[in-house]
Symmetry: C2
Subunit: 409 residues, 2 copies
């Protein structure tokens, strides 16, 4: 494989943004199952919210003009004609009359304000008010939240608790959401056996990348098609990949890291995409031998075989890709924590380095210690919280400096 | 309800940490279903990893001593006796002999190093080496990743892709995980009807808090028991809560916000907890009328009825509580984004203010605009990404200052 035209991380990002778009397929889903799904339609209010004027305090529903001039020394006296019950239609009050109203209760016809109970005194069949209230005071008017026909939630919003609550409030019980992107995973390598195999033969290792990539895809909100293990042979890989491609939106080929396997993967990508290979190598460590091809709006990623590399590459670029395909228009922010670097990290200029780190909390601040194990050693990731990025223009970071640690999730 | 002993946000945090502990219940789960679950046992390696010494490059397996002194001008000549196939046991090489080995291939007995293919030349039945290699060079030794019996992952770790990959590598297919905390939700209020109701009667509103609180609980990794709507009556609330409490770890009572309802909730908490009420009001806006009681290791939360308040209180304190109960020992970091505040925010000293904001990206930086709608208006949360916290010792924030926005999720 040539890897002559290695691209920077930012170039690959731009290629993803410029070449892929949201999947134009939707499904109708009950809002109880919509958490974290991406809304596939604009939502307009089918009704007014709240549907009636409500009191925002416990107090007495009044006609504001009946209270004008009321004070501690000269209270207003109103005729008490009963209580308003929650959840029922409130009965009329006339001028000079009042009813007790609990918070959330319906403002009765004839009233336009509520006097807080704190500034009143109840006598047998009269209520004394010690303060005047203005029209609309302590009232949430019908439609204060939303008017009928108002634009409420836009297509492309990731549905979280507030949006689901708003839909529930408006009586909208199901909505169109974007179909979830589907990620297909093929692990290639003659040395691989399923993780369920009890005793390994000499020369065999268990397939790690399937569960690794599948976990990332699920965490990023995609559905997953696990295709198991394919032997390291062009025809076999091509056949499996062709069979899987129509079923998925992103196809991951995670191969061995030998030159032969990389060549097979490169050839399969070239053939399947009709030579529409967009990336042949990234200036990143770990993860340089990464391939990206495009077939219609589908992405085929050839990932490095080393699990640490495969994981970091797919976490990073997979997130961008899944976000694009899923239709999400939300602002993306990563979990970042500032930490003190405990030792120097060497790095080569001209490429991005992602260095995994362990965090410790010590004397009110975090300390980040880089982990330097080979990227074939999966357990070096255990106990790491995330990574530090060293940009291409920097040659390493000094111990004692302050760094940003990007969390895995 | 008195609310005489209002506590600060930090005090409530300490009360949660000091009074609750992880649920001491576990279940055995296949690692495919363990993403984001909390490990309930320490993991030791049942076998060595990798189980055989492997090449980390494409090249020739050699006995290092056969290569000493080799150089461009004076190459070493070794007898070529074949190739090593991936996934099969490699056959012996003797002194003066070599076999081609792909990346990840098993190092043959008799070899202790690999010469990179770049520095070799293959003749008919001989290989010329232009550089010497030292013992162990380009080799990942058996056990380099993990030795048998090594401590690998500690109880309390949240299982993410790296941990699941490591378990797969070690042939561990299922593990003990902590039982998920179960959150029970009771919505109280005579004005409430189910969100499925088509046409509302005057005075009725749809139950929002159930889907709101249930979405948050699911997002935080809990299981949910939705109990529907209870009428606003002490006996009814007590009966429902007593029935639900044995089934859950956290019981949420989200009531109307009228004084009467608050009193009922307070009485129910007092009775159920045998007067072990830990919090009666928090110095926070929104969310002051929040109650917390403890029954054994179970928490009962009386939440404010306004959906915005209920959501913010349960997002914040529910996350702390669910983390404690779930057994997680992971470092917690929130998604935070730095933004320019577009206008002044007033605030009262002596209490914490959480102000929801909308973010816009403008000229390379984020601008945060506060949203001031009443906390009864659920749709004011739509389009907000998170909130700004104004601590008790500050009286507001100035427009133009730089603020941290904490993301909802």
């Amino acid at each position: 494989m040539k890897l002559l035209t290695v691209k920077s991380v930012d170039e690959v990002k731009k290629i993803l943004i410029g070449n892929f778009q949201s999947i134009d397929m939707y499904e109708k889903v009950d809002i109880d199952d919509c958490l974290s799904r991406v809304l596939g339609q604009d939502i307009f209010a089918p009704e007014i919210l709240p549907s009636f004027s409500r009191s925002s305090v416990d107090g007495y529903a009044v006609n504001a003009s009946d209270t004008y001039g009321a004070s501690e020394s000269l209270p207003a006296f109103l005729e008490f004609i009963g209580e308003i019950k929650m959840g029922t239609e409130a009965e009329l009050i006339g001028f000079g009359q009042t009813r007790y109203i609990p918070t959330g209760g319906m403002l009765p016809p004839g009233a336009d304000a509520v006097a807080m109970v704190e500034y009143t005194e109840k006598l047998a069949d009269q209520v004394m008010l010690y303060r005047q209230v203005g029209p609309g005071e302590n009232v949430i008017k019908a439609g204060d939240d939303v008017k009928k026909g108002d634009f409420v939630i836009s297509k492309g919003t990731v549905l979280k608790e507030a949006e689901l609550g708003s839909l529930a409030a408006l009586g909208i019980n199901s909505v169109l959401v974007y179909k979830k992107p589907v990620v297909g995973i093929i692990s290639t390598g003659n040395e691989l056996v399923s993780r369920q195999v009890g005793e390994l033969q000499k020369g065999q290792i268990r397939d790690i990348n399937t569960i690794l990539l599948s976990s990332i895809a699920k965490r990023l909100g995609a559905d997953v098609f696990e295709c198991g293990i394919t032997i390291d042979n062009y025809d076999q890989i091509f056949e499996e990949a062709s069979r899987l491609l129509p079923e998925v939106d992103i196809l991951l080929l995670s191969g061995g890291s030998s030159v032969g396997t990389l060549d097979f993967t490169a050839q399969v990508l070239e053939k399947l995409s009709n030579k529409n290979v967009l990336v042949e190598g990234i200036a990143i460590k770990p993860g340089k031998p990464t391939l990206l091809a495009k077939v219609n709006n589908k992405a085929i990623l050839g990932l490095p075989g080393h699990p640490v590399s495969a994981m970091m590459i797919f976490s990073y670029f997979g997130e961008i890709l899944i976000d694009i395909l899923s239709g999400s228009k939300d602002i993306k922010v990563k979990k970042i924590c500032t930490a003190l670097l405990t030792r120097n990290i060497p790095s080569s200029a001209g490429r991005t380095d992602w260095v995994r780190v362990k965090l410790e909390f010590d004397q009110n601040s975090y300390k980040a210690t880089p982990v330097f194990g080979k990227s074939g050693l999966i357990t070096t990731l255990i106990g790491t919280q995330g990574y530090i990025e060293i940009p291409p223009h920097k040659e390493g970071l000094e111990g004692g400096s302050t760094v940003d640690v990007v969390f895995w999730s």
